[in-house]
Each structure stands twice: as structure tokens, then as C-alpha cells.
């Protein structure tokens, strides 16, 4: 009722400064519980190194394909724990081979053999590069499993050993170590920080050079991205500062996978508080991110868009930096992208820009973002429509009357009102709030009646009326409020006079504090 509207009305005058803006900008962290399947377009957390026949031949010089020795688990334990270097290598190789097979690698059985500490010990055997390599590979694959599996590797003492191996003279060993460390870092913030505390970053970064082979560089980039990944807590600031210059270099590379993973890294770094975002903005990388966001490759576009989406959850200045980098030129293409997840991320990004001051809202108009927004609202995938509704809501909250008029002229009303049929209470509520905002603007222009007719013409009135019986209390109240305020000769209950003894209206009023 009016009392509820009052504070928001007042907040509007502050042009979304302070509290209001924080509430409007929606970070990714709204809900931590997911009902859905893990997203298919997320970056992979851990990877296993699978034996392919061609790989079988080359990497281990000592291995002859004609004499692949099959060992039982018992034999493996025995050999690994024994002192014969030959047998140790054979057994480690056998274990690695089991762990590398395509289907059902016996991670648990190998762990249960209790040979992990021994394998970790093999990592330090600088005298036998093949043994080091086989052990590293085996451990990499164990670490690629569940958290349990990774923990077994870490508790076996693998972290310092792998970090030491980064500087191995043999490139394939150091590459395998990078991979193993990537798996450990991908497990979560705890092991990520354990690695960082063991000083993983300097030797890792030292591996990046103009002559590093592409395959190796891909592995390094991926491991770096896992070192940037995860919140609660974020990776330590100084670690981030060390990695960022290298990441920005990697973002100039021409390899797709390297670009994709470095974009993922940046997207993780920006998925946080404003000071985290600022560190990324300060590198001057935004124009490159925007460029990559507009590129043809989905695997690059996805993380680049995420990173930019994260940046505009930040302050007005940070958002402006993204705008200056050209985000508004690319967004229309993404809003019209065929893939629903891209549409959704683009609309989310737009919704956060629309939560900014009216100068930024004006830029949305200037760069012709409204037509694709309206299209998306009309025909987009539901996930994207939901974000588009937020964009419109924020626009109507922070926009000037003229800007809101422009939005209505773009045809936003029809698809917006249609979405009142959405099967999502929150979306309905946001739309009802938006409609109230539109009416506030119409009142200022003295066009309330025209808006009423327009809403009725577009079948909005009957939908709002129907929502008066919605099961969600807030939805029903919001609908009722709009109907009472604009679609009936409603009265203000606080001011209603009572009647006195002679049956006439009782002229009376209680004084209150006034503040217009």
C-alpha cells in the first residue's frame, strides 16, 4: 500500500545510490543450492589423462608395446613396495595403465592398496625419469576423481613433490605435474590455497615462455584458471596479482583453448566483491574481453561474457569501464544468440547495466539495446526472459520519465504483460513492480488513463485481475494494489471518515509527521 511505496519512491530520488543499487545489482550468488544438473557449459574442474594408443607408444621411452606386462593388484603392491627399480617401474606403469583406461578406472581399489605414499616418493626419484613420469601420471588420474580421491593424493604428500617437479628438466614430467596440480587446485578453495601456500605460482608462471609448446601451455592455463577458481574464500590477493599479468598475456594468444581457459580464469576473478573486480579492471583487459565476447567461438564467448557480466555487477565506475570497452556494441548480438545460455547471460549483464545511473541507462537507448531486449522478452528462452524482466524492472526503477517513455515506445509492454502467465512467482512479482513503476512515470506525465487503456488492450488487465487469486501472498497483494490504485475508483482507507451518532460522516483526522 502507499506506506510501502513511500521509501522506494524516496530512494528513486537518490538515483539508485547506496543501498538500493546494491539490491538491484544481482550477483551470481543468489542461491547456492542447485536442483539442476551441473551446467554443461561450465569449465571442467578435473581431468583424467586417458591412454590413447598413440600416446602409449611415445611418452615412456622404456616401454615397448610388445611387452605390456599385465600385473595383478597383489603383484603391483608387492613390486611398488619392493626395492627392485625395474619392478617398481613395471608396477607403477601397470597401475597407471589401469587408471587410464576409458571405462571404470579402479580409483578406489588402487587407493585401497595403500601405495599412494610410495608413488609420491617415486616423484622424487630424479634418477629415474620414467618412474617419476609414470607415478605422476597415475597420481594425476587418482586426483581427477571425487574429493575423496583427491584427498588421498594430497594426504599422501603429493603437493610439495609435484611443485618440485614443475622445475624438472624433463618437459613431459613437468607438464604432467602441471596437470596433477590442476586437478588438486580444482578440488576447492582448501587445496587451492594449500597449493598457493606451498608457493606453486612462481615455478608455474616460469614455465610460460614464447617457446612453450601449445599443448603444454594449454595445461598451464587450465591449472592457472583452477588456481583462480572458487569463492569462500577467494584466492589470496597477492596470488591473484601475481597471476594476472600472465593471464592477460595468455589472452592475446591465438589458441582457442588457451583463450577459453584464460577467460574462465578472469571470469572467476571477477565473480566477487568490487575490489576483486577492480584488480581486473586495472589490468586494462576489458576491451580484449569484450572483443573475445563477440567472437565466433562459443567456448571463448561463454567465459568472456561471464567475466564482463561479473564486472558490471560492480560499481558505476566499473560498469562504465565495461561500457567504454564497447560491451554495448556486442550485447545486442548476444541477446539474439541462438543458444539460450548466452541469451540468459547477456540479459543478466544487461540487467545489471540497467541498474546503474540514468546516464548509463541512456547509453542503453543510444546503443539500441531496447529492440533486442524486447525481442528476447517476447520470444527468448524462459531463463533469458526472466533476466530480461529484471533488466526492464531495473530500467524502470532508475530511468528518467523520458527514458521510461522510450522503453514503452519500444514495445516492452506486450511481452512483459504476457509474462504475467509465467510459472514463476518471483518473475511475476518483478513484473508487477515494473508495472507500478510504469504507472508512477505515467502519473508524472498525466498519462495514467492512457496507460490503463494500453494495459487493458494488451490483455494485461485480465491477467493482473487473475493474479488477485494467486497463492503467493506478495504476488496477490501486488496485483491487488495495482487494480485498486489504477483500475478502480479505489479509496484511501486511512483517510476514510467514520460515522457519528447522527449517522453522518465524522470529520476527524489524526495528526502525523509530514515529509514530502
Amino acid at each position: 500500500m502507499p506506506v510501502v511505496n513511500e521509501p522506494s519512491e524516496r530512494m528513486r530520488k537518490f538515483k539508485n545510490r547506496g543501498k538500493d543499487a546494491a539490491a538491484m545489482r544481482r550477483q551470481r550468488v543468489e542461491v547456492n543450492i542447485e536442483l539442476r544438473k551441473a551446467k554443461k557449459d561450465e569449465q571442467i574442474l578435473k581431468r583424467r589423462s586417458i591412454s590413447i594408443v598413440s600416446m602409449e607408444k611415445s611418452p615412456t621411452p622404456g616401454e615397448d608395446k610388445n611387452v605390456i606386462i599385465q600385473l595383478s593388484l597383489e603383484e603391483i603392491v608387492k613390486a611398488v613396495n619392493g626395492n627392485n627399480p625395474e619392478l617398481q617401474l613395471q608396477a607403477t606403469q601397470a597401475a597407471r595403465r589401469m587408471l587410464s583406461r576409458q571405462k571404470d578406472p579402479p580409483l578406489n581399489q588402487i587407493i585401497e592398496l595403500g601405495i599412494i605414499p610410495r608413488l609420491v616418493e617415486f616423484l622424487t626419484r630424479a634418477d629415474s625419469a620414467p618412474l617419476q613420469f609414470e607415478a605422476a601420471w597415475a597420481l594425476t588420474n587418482i586426483a581427477s576423481g571425487t574429493s575423496e580421491h583427491t584427498r588421498a593424493v594430497v594426504e599422501g604428500g603429493a603437493i610439495p613433490a609435484f611443485i618440485a617437479l614443475l622445475s624438472s628438466p624433463h618437459m613431459h614430467i613437468s607438464e604432467q605435474s602441471v596437470w596433477a596440480l590442476g586437478n588438486i587446485a580444482g578440488d576447492g578453495p582448501l587445496y587451492r590455497d594449500a597449493l598457493i601456500n606451498c608457493n606453486v605460482i612462481p615455478p608455474l608462471l616460469a614455465l610460460v615462455s614464447p617457446v612453450t609448446p601449445i599443448g603444454f601451455l594449454r595445461n598451464i592455463t587450465w591449472t592457472l584458471s583452477n588456481l583462480c577458481r572458487n569463492k569462500n574464500p577467494y584466492p589470496p590477493l597477492d596470488a591473484v596479482k601475481k597471476m594476472l599479468p600472465v593471464l592477460t598475456c595468455l589472452m592475446e594468444h591465438e589458441d582457442k583453448e588457451i583463450l577459453a581457459d584464460s577467460c574462465w580464469a578472469v571470469s572467476y576473478l571477477t565473480d566477487g566483491s568490487n575490489d576483486r573486480i577492480q584488480i581486473v579492471v586495472d589490468t586494462g583487459i576489458l576491451p580484449r574481453l569484450v572483443e573475445l565476447m563477440g567472437g565466433p567461438e562459443l567456448i571463448i564467448m561463454t567465459p568472456a561474457l561471464r567475466a564482463i557480466g561479473n564486472v558490471v555487477t560492480g560499481t558505476d565506475e566499473q560498469t562504465q569501464a565495461a561500457i567504454d570497452a564497447g560491451v554495448l556494441v556486442i550485447l545486442p548480438l548476444l541477446l539474439r544468440h541462438a543458444k539460450p545460455t548466452i541469451q540468459k547471460e547477456a540479459a543478466w549483464t544487461l540487467s545489471n547495466i540497467a541498474a546503474g545511473p540514468c546516464q548509463q541507462i541512456q547509453q542503453l537507448i543510444t546503443f539500441r539495446l531496447l529492440p533486442p531486449l524486447v525481442e528476447l522478452l517476447d520470444k527468448g528462452d524462459f531463463k533469458a526472459q526472466k533476466e530480461a524482466v529484471w533488466a526492464v524492472a531495473n530500467f524502470t526503477t532508475g530511468g528518467t520519465v523520458e527514458q521510461v517513455v522510450e522503453l514503452v515506445r519500444s514495445g516492452v509492454l506486450k511481452p512483459l504483460l504476457n509474462l504475467l502467465l509465467a510459472k514463476d512467482s518471483k518473475t511475476i512479482l518483478v513484473i508487477l513492480d515494473t508495472i507500478s513503476n510504469l504507472f508512477l512515470a505515467a502519473e508524472k506525465l498525466g498519462e495514467t488513463e492512457r496507460l490503463c487503456l494500453l494495459v487493458e488492450e494488451l490483455d494485461g488487465l485480465e491477467k493482473i485481475e487473475a493474479l488477485q487469486t494467486h497463492d503467493n501472498n506478495m504476488v496477490y497483494r501486488a496485483a491487488l494494489n495495482i487494480i485498486e490504485k489504477y483500475f478502480s475508483g479505489e479509496e484511501n482507507p486511512d483517510l476514510q471518515p467514520g460515522t457519528d451518532q447522527d449517522g453522518l460522516y465524522n470529520f476527524s483526522v489524526e495528526k502525523q509527521d509530514f515529509d514530502f
Binding site: K379, F382, K426, E462, A466, E490, G503, L504, Y505
Partner: protein
């Protein structure tokens, strides 16, 4: 209370007494139960009784009492004592599920409700075993038990359909999914298998199908917030089976009832909802299944009969198609000409037909018929769903669809022409089809505002609507007459004026039709036509154009009020009032007869005999003063009566006659002000009283001043009527002797400020500004400032800064602008605090921003004399006009 036989006996006695029809026995028993419900074991005693009592009536009574007890007491409110002791809570939760499941249906329902109330508070944290307990019953194989579990689960989970996403909610859903989704899926599969093994056993099928209905509902609840991983992985199972069930028919499940939906219909209806949910929210994942569902649902529609029991199913199914066909990426499912033709022919046209049930409503329940047909409360009807599908298809296929339907319309019209008395329903469907095809946007106020350009509305009007209305018998084919009249009414903004003029005598003629729907529609159409505005926003149909019809219009309107069933027809009354306001002085010759009929009407309604003097005005006048209840019993007439009275009063040159003064208190009766239609003429009448009789009121009726101001308060509380409140207030300020309203003055302002604070609309602000400036002119700027600041320190400054300065330019109207210009000038020049206190800063703001507007106000709205007067002021204040 102990769990003893004695207590059970006592409780039984009291429960029995609560069923007694005699309040002297019932009330004390209810009081007693209330007084002991705080005792430990009370709920357990009730549970014992509902399980073990010898008498069925006590069992039921105990179960209802138990449920109400839970409803009132279970929730623990912060800072309030826990109303149920912990051991009782534990015992209830431990026993209620098996008890519910073993109880007969009547009691099961009460206990199931109680479980969901408890569940709402305790589930899942404080009732961790509930889910496992329920799931375990799935294996019982006893479908009465299983249905009990499913029903309880449904009442627990259905809130997932409307609550907002939150961590708490999703944690709960995740927990439910982990425990429930797999067993539910297995149960679903098992039940379907049992359906085929029991395909010939009617009673088994009924139980199994009620399980399936509940399972389908649970599916909807569990899938509502987001697509759960489990259901995505098992989509194949669910959707394949849903699809099969949609296409399934079994004679044993068909019901004889024509009205009530059977289990099969309920199940298919819920499956349509489930498919629609997936299509709307999880399109990406559901895409592979969607075409199959479109085909199945479409076949379902083709094979479903016209009976009322299928209505919900049919309307759900059509709405599903309507929502899918609008999506660009499913366009291809519909675009084939044969598909379109077949949808039009087999889905849309049959569902637009006028059914026996419609015919019944048309004849016997015309009020309901009108509400549905005219006022749009038809959301769930088949016609409406079919209409929505037409609009949906037109989004991409307007041309082809219009083409197909034109063919149908023509053939239906030909059928009609062959034998109208048998085939009139074909024409009804044709008209409905044209209407739904042509209308793209519609409002109550203007009718259809956007039409399909491919439909020639005027041609259809001339060839098919006019002839029906021209037919000499107004009572033949009443449904078609109503259709025709409705056509004119809704397309009033689309059909050219000369055609509208042609139809006016026809509409007037149909006011005589016997059918309530027909003469009501005729009256409504006339009333609407009289409000249509032309290109320059003037009334389209003028009084002069109506001149030839005035007599017959008035005669027929009044005659219509004498037709059976329409003696209090609001549409006709509105048409009468609208005619008066359109015709203005051209009704003067008819006033005597009109008034006679109005008073007769009043008499007829009151069924009381009164003697009226020959002067009819005085007759009505007396009627009002002697018996307000007469008026109240026929409220539609009042506005007109007041209008006539204010005309009479305004003609008086002198002080108000005492006979009028006798009426004055009656005019302040709240019951008159509750009807919005009364407000404008009543305000005008009170203004006439104030203009002529302010002094008389002040001297002879001073005790009525609060009542008068109460009316003002009533009006100011409403956004729709606040301007009327200001009319009244302005008259009070202008005419009442100042000392008579002195004591109320502050109150008036507080009230206005309150309204300003609560809902500040532009209309209110404009009226408010005019009023305070008028006040300033009447009482001086200093008085204005003083009264503001007496309400709250610095109030005057706040109003100046926040309201007057930013909003003054919005004031419109010559007189209003003039009042504001003078008022503002007075504030600037006559108000010492403006010059030498902290208000001074505002002086500059105001004089620069607002009085900057004064020149334009002056040039547009002031006469020379006033201008001179103003400039004198401005000079005195050394303000120079630009």
C-alpha cells in the same frame, strides 16, 4: 488430563454436545473444550477417540476438532508460550501418519489436512522421518494407503508451485527429491503396469487412476521451481508414459455424468499442465518431446466431445497449443496448410459452437450469460480458449488462417441461409469466429481498438448484421440478435459513422425485445455508442442527429424497464442517464412524462403509496426528505434527481427556501455517497446550497458542518473523487462565513497533508495547489503560512519547496491558473516571514523558478484589470517581470 477411560468418556459427552442444534447446549460445550485444550494429552485423547470410538459421528467430530486444534495451536509464535507440550507433539508426529492411512476417507481427509499443517511448520527439520515413513508405504501395494500418502505429499509439496526461490526452500526440495523422486518414479511405472493388468476391472482402475492423478500433480510441484537433475535424467520415462496416458481411453473410466470431470479427464488435464510447464520453462531439454505432445493433444481435442465435463481439459489443451504455436522455433509444427486447416476445422470451429449449456444460460440465467459474454469473465471457457488459439496462430499465419476461416464463415452462413430456423447456430459461430479473428486489442471503454486488416468488418456488418436487426420481429432468433448488437457495440470504433447512425433506430427497436439479453445488449450498445468520440475528440453522435429518435428512445428505454426480469436493469438505467446527458435540452419537452415514469418507477419499487403533488419536482423532493429508504431501494435514479434539484436551486435568486433546508441533512447521509454515480450531482447540489445558503447553514445548521466536512473527507480519500472533494472544499472556503469553519481549519489542512503524504497523484496536487492559492487569496498569505507552520514547524517551507515550486506549472485551466498566479504573488509579497527568516532562500528559488512562469500565466489567463492589480503587487515587492 490423563489418558483415562473416564476422560475419554467426558470428552465424548462434550463432543456430542457440540453437535447439538440448541445453542444453550452447544455453546457451553464448545467453551469447555476450548478451556481444556491447553492441557497435556488433550490431542492424544482426541486421536484415541477418532480411532476407537464406537460411534462414527464421534470419530468424525473428534477428527474435525483435532484438525482445528492443530490449526490454532501448532505454530510456535515467537515471544508467545508454546501451546502444545513437547511430548504431545512427539506423540502426534509418531502416530498420525499410520492413523491417517488406516482411517476411513472422511477422517483421512481431516488428518491429512492436519499433517500438512504440521508439515508446514516442522517439515523437514523437525520431522525427519516423515518422508521415509511415507516412501515406505509405497511398497505396501495397498492403493488406498498409497493414495493417502500421495494426497498428504501433495498437500505438503504444492507450495513449491508458488513460493519464491530461496536457499531454505530449495534445500527442502532437494531433500524431498533425494528421498522421493525415485520411489515416485517407480510407483508411477508400477501403477501404469497395474493399469494394463487390471484393464477390465473398473473399481481397481478407479483407484489406480486416482493415484496417477496425484502422481501427475506431484510431478508438477516437484518440477516447478527448476528442472531437477533426477527428472532430467528420467525425462524419457515420465514423458513417454505421460504421452501414452494422453492417448489412452478406457470405456470403464468414462463417466455418465455430463458436468463433473472424471478421473481420465482430470489426469489428462494435469498432463497438459505438466507438458505446458516443461514447454514454458525447460524448452531446451523438452524440445525432443514437444512435437509428440502437440500431436497427441491435438488428437485429444479432435476426439473429445462437447460435454461440460471436458471443458477444463479442452481449455487446458487448447491453451497448450496456443502457447506453443506462438514460439518461433515451433512455427514449423503448424505451418503446413493441411495442419492449419485441420486445427481450424477440428479444434477451433467446434469449440466456438453455441452449446446447449450456453443456450440454457442465455434463456434462464441471463445475468451470468451477460457477465461471461460481455464483461469477459470467460477465462476458462472453451470459446475463450479457441479465441486465444486463433490469436496465437495469427501471430505467424494471419493470412492463411484468415483465408481458411473466411471459407468456413461463408459455408456456415450458407448453411444458415438454407434454413435459418434450424441452422441459426451456424451463424452464431460465424459471427463469433469473425469477431475473434478480427479483434486484436480491446478495452471496455472503447471496444475493439485494433482490428485484423484482412477482415472487412463493414462489409460483414452490412451484409450479415444489419439484415438480422432489420427483421420485423425483434423476438426471432434472440441469440443472433444479441450477437448482432454485440458486434455493433464492440466494433463501434471500427465501423464508419454512417453505419452506426443506421443502426441506432434498430437498437432502439430492440429495447423492446422480450429476451433479457437482447434488450440489455441494445441498451448497453446505445449507451456505449453515445460515448464514442470522433477524430477531434468530440462526441461522435450529436444531439441533433439523435433528434428524430428522442421520443421513441425515451419511450423504449422506460418500457424496457417494465419488461420481465429487467425492472432493476443497470444497463438500461445507464443508457437512460447517458441519453439525458447526450440529449440535454432536447429532452425538455419530455420531462413531464419522464419524471412521471421515474416517480412511478420509484413507487413501484417501494411498493408504498404516497400522495404526490402535481408539481413533480416537489414530489421527488418530498420523497427524498420524507423517506430516504425509498431512494436507497432504487439507487439508479438518484443522480438524476439531484441533477434536477441543483438546477432548480441554482435558478433561485434569493436565499434558500426553508423547504430545501429541511432536506440538507439528508444529503449528507453516507449511504448516498457510497455510490460513485451519485457523487458528481450531489457535489453540485451541495455547491448550490453553499452558494445560496451558506449563511443559513452557518446559522441554522451549524451542527451539520462536521457532517459536511465529513463528506469532503470521504471524497478526498479517493483518487477517483478527490477533485470533487476540492470542489466542495472550495465552495466552503468561498462562501461559508469564516468564523463558522474556524475550528475545523487546521483539521482540513492536516487531512490534505495526509493524503499528500499517502498518495500524491498529479490530479490531487493540481487541485491542492488551486485550493491553497484560493485560501491565500481569501485569508491572506500570512494566514496560510501560519496555519501550515502551526501544524508542524517549517511546514510552509517544505510545502513551498517540495510541492508548490516544482509542481505549480502543472496547474491547468484559465481560472485555476489565475487563482495560482494571484495566490503566489500574495505569498511572495504579503508574507513577512518570506522576507526575513530562513524562508528567504526559497523566495529566490520561487521568484526565479516559479514566478518566472507568472508572465506566461498572465498573458494567457488574466484580464487587464487583474493584470494591473497583479503588477501593482509585484512592483511593491520590487519584482520585475521579464
Amino acid at each position: 488430563m490423563e489418558l483415562s477411560d473416564a476422560n475419554l468418556q467426558t470428552l465424548t459427552e462434550y463432543l456430542k454436545k457440540t453437535l447439538d442444534p440448541d445453542p444453550a447446549i452447544r455453546r457451553p460445550a464448545e467453551k469447555f473444550l476450548e478451556s481444556v485444550e491447553g492441557s497435556q494429552n488433550y490431542p492424544l485423547l482426541l486421536l484415541t477417540l477418532l480411532e476407537k470410538s464406537q460411534e462414527n459421528v464421534i470419530k468424525v467430530c473428534a477428527s474435525v476438532t483435532f484438525k482445528n486444534y492443530i490449526k490454532r495451536n501448532w505454530r510456535i509464535v515467537e515471544d508467545e508460550p508454546n501451546k502444545i507440550c513437547e511430548s504431545d507433539r512427539i506423540a502426534i508426529k509418531a502416530n498420525i501418519v499410520p492413523l491417517m492411512l488406516s482411517s476411513p476417507e472422511q477422517i483421512q481427509k481431516q488428518l491429512s489436512d492436519a499433517i500438512s499443517i504440521i508439515g508446514r511448520e516442522d517439515f523437514p527439520q523437525k520431522w525427519p522421518d516423515l518422508l521415509t515413513e511415507m516412501v515406505n508405504r509405497f511398497q505396501s501395494g495397498d492403493f488406498h494407503v498409497i493414495n493417502g500418502v500421495l494426497r498428504t505429499a501433495h498437500s505438503l509439496f504444492k507450495r513449491y508451485r508458488h513460493e519464491f526461490k530461496s536457499n531454505e526452500l530449495w534445500t527442502e526440495i532437494k531433500l524431498v527429491l533425494d528421498a522421493f523422486a525415485l520411489p515416485l518414479t517407480n510407483l508411477f511405472k508400477a501403477t501404469i503396469e497395474l493399469c494394463s493388468t487390471h484393464a477390465n476391472d473398473a473399481s481397481a482402475l478407479k483407484v489406480l487412476f486416482s493415484s496417477l492423478v496425484l502422481i501427475a500433480k506431484l510431478f508438477y510441484s516437484l518440477n516447478f521451481q527448476d528442472l531437477p537433475e533426477f527428472f532430467e535424467d528420467n525425462m524419457e520415462t515420465w514423458m513417454t508414459n505421460f504421452h501414452t496416458l494422453l492417448t489412452l481411453d478406457n470405456k470403464l473410466l468414462q463417466t455418465d455424468d455430463e458436468e463433473e470431470a472424471g478421473l481420465l479427464e482430470l489426469l489428462k488435464s494435469q498432463i497438459c499442465d505438466n507438458a505446458a510447464l516443461y514447454a514454458q520453462k525447460y524448452d531446451e531439454e523438452f524440445q525432443p518431446y514437444l512435437p509428440r505432445f502437440v500431436t497427441a493433444i491435438w488428437n485429444l481435442l479432435v476426439t473429445t466431445g462437447q460435454e461440460v465435463k471436458y471443458d477444463l481439459l479442452v481449455s487446458n489443451a487448447i491453451q497448450f497449443l496456443a502457447s506453443v504455436c506462438e514460439r518461433p522455433h515451433y512455427k514449423h509444427l503448424f505451418e503446413d496448410q493441411n495442419t492449419l486447416t485441420s486445427i481450424c476445422e477440428k479444434v477451433i470451429v467446434p469449440n466456438m459452437e453455441f452449446r446447449a449449456a450456453d443456450e440454457e444460460a442465455f434463456e434462464d440465467n441471463s445475468e451470468e450469460y451477460i457477465r461471461r459474454d460481455l464483461e469477459g469473465s470467460d477465462i476458462d471457457t472453451r470459446r475463450r480458449a479457441a479465441c486465444d488459439l486463433v490469436r496465437g496462430l495469427c501471430k505467424f499465419f494471419e493470412g492463411p488462417v484468415t483465408g481458411i476461416f473466411s471459407g468456413y464463415v461463408n459455408s456456415m452462413l450458407q448453411e444458415y441461409a438454407k434454413n435459418p430456423s434450424v441452422n441459426w447456430k451456424h451463424k452464431d459461430a460465424a459471427i463469433y469466429l469473425v469477431t475473434s479473428l478480427a479483434s486484436k486489442a480491446q478495452t471496455q471503454k472503447h471496444g475493439i481498438t485494433k482490428a485484423n486488416e484482412l477482415v472487412n468488418l463493414t462489409e460483414f456488418f452490412v451484409n450479415h448484421i444489419l439484415p438480422d436487426l432489420k427483421s420485423p420481429s425483434v423476438n426471432e432468433f434472440p441469440v443472433l440478435k444479441a450477437d448482432g448488437i454485440k458486434y455493433i457495440m464492440i466494433f463501434r470504433s471500427q465501423v464508419p459513422k454512417e453505419q452506426l447512425l443506421l443502426s441506432i433506430p434498430l437498437l432502439i427497436n430492440h429495447l423492446q425485445a422480450e429476451s433479457i439479453v437482447v434488450h440489455t445488449y441494445a441498451a448497453h450498445a446505445l449507451e456505449r455508442l453515445f460515448t464514442v468520440r470522433g477524430t477531434n475528440n468530440t462526441i461522435l453522435i450529436t444531439a441533433a442527429e439523435m433528434a428524430p429518435f428522442v421520443e421513441v428512445l425515451l419511450t423504449n428505454l422506460f418500457k424496457a424497464l417494465t419488461l420481465p426480469g429487467s425492472s432493476e436493469n443497470e444497463y438500461i438505467m445507464k443508457a437512460i442517464m447517458r441519453s439525458f446527458s447526450l440529449l440535454q435540452e432536447s429532452i425538455i419537452p419530455y420531462i413531464p412524462s419522464v419524471i412521471t415514469q421515474l416517480t412511478q418507477k420509484l413507487l413501484a419499487v417501494s411498493k408504498k403509496q404516497y400522495t404526490f403533488s402535481k408539481v413533480l419536482f416537489v414530489g421527488i423532493f418530498l420523497l427524498i426528505s420524507y423517506n430516504c429508504s425509498v431512494i436507497i431501494s432504487f439507487p439508479e435514479f438518484i443522480p438524476y434527481v439531484f441533477q434536477v434539484m441543483s438546477l432548480l436551486l441554482e435558478m433561485h435568486k434569493n436565499e434558500i427556501p426553508s423547504s430545501y433546508m429541511a432536506l440538507f441533512p439528508h444529503l449528507l447521509q453516507p449511504v448516498l455517497w457510497e455510490r460513485t454515480g451519485n457523487i458528481p450531482p450531489l457535489v453540485r447540489l451541495l455547491q448550490a446550497y453553499l452558494e445560496r445558503g451558506a449563511n443559513t447553514i452557518a446559522s441554522a445548521a451549524a451542527d451539520k458542518i462536521p457532517g459536511l466536512l465529513g463528506v469532503f473527507q470521504k471524497l478526498i480519500a479517493s483518487k477517483a473523487n478527490d477533485h470533487q472533494g476540492f470542489y466542495l472544499l472550495n465552495s466552503i472556503i468561498e462562501h461559508m462565513p469564516p468564523e463558522s469553519v474556524d475550528q475545523y481549519r487546521k483539521q482540513i489542512f492536516i487531512l490534505l497533508f495526509q493524503r499528500l503524504q499517502n498518495s500524491k497523484t498529479t490530479k490531487f496536487i493540481k487541485s491542492f495547489l488551486v485550493f491553497i492559492n484560493l485560501y491565500c487569496i481569501k485569508y491572506g498569505a500570512l494566514a496560510l503560512q501560519e496555519i501550515f507552520d502551526s501544524i508542524q514547524p517549517k511546514m510552509f517551507g517544505m510545502v513551498l519547496e517540495k510541492i508548490i515550486i516544482p509542481e505549480i506549472q502543472k496547474v491547468s485551466g484559465q481560472v485555476e491558473k489565475k487563482i495560482c498566479a494571484v495566490g503566489i504573488t500574495k505569498i511572495l509579497t504579503e508574507c513577512p516571514p518570506m522576507m526575513d527568516t530562513e524562508y528567504t532562500k526559497l523566495w529566490y528559488v520561487e521568484s526565479s523558478s516559479s514566478v518566472g512562469e507568472v508572465p506566461s500565466m498572465l498573458s494567457t489567463s488574466l484580464n487587464a484589470e487583474a493584470l494591473q492589480y497583479l503588477q501593482g503587487y509585484l512592483q511593491a515587492a520590487s519584482v520585475t517581470l521579464l
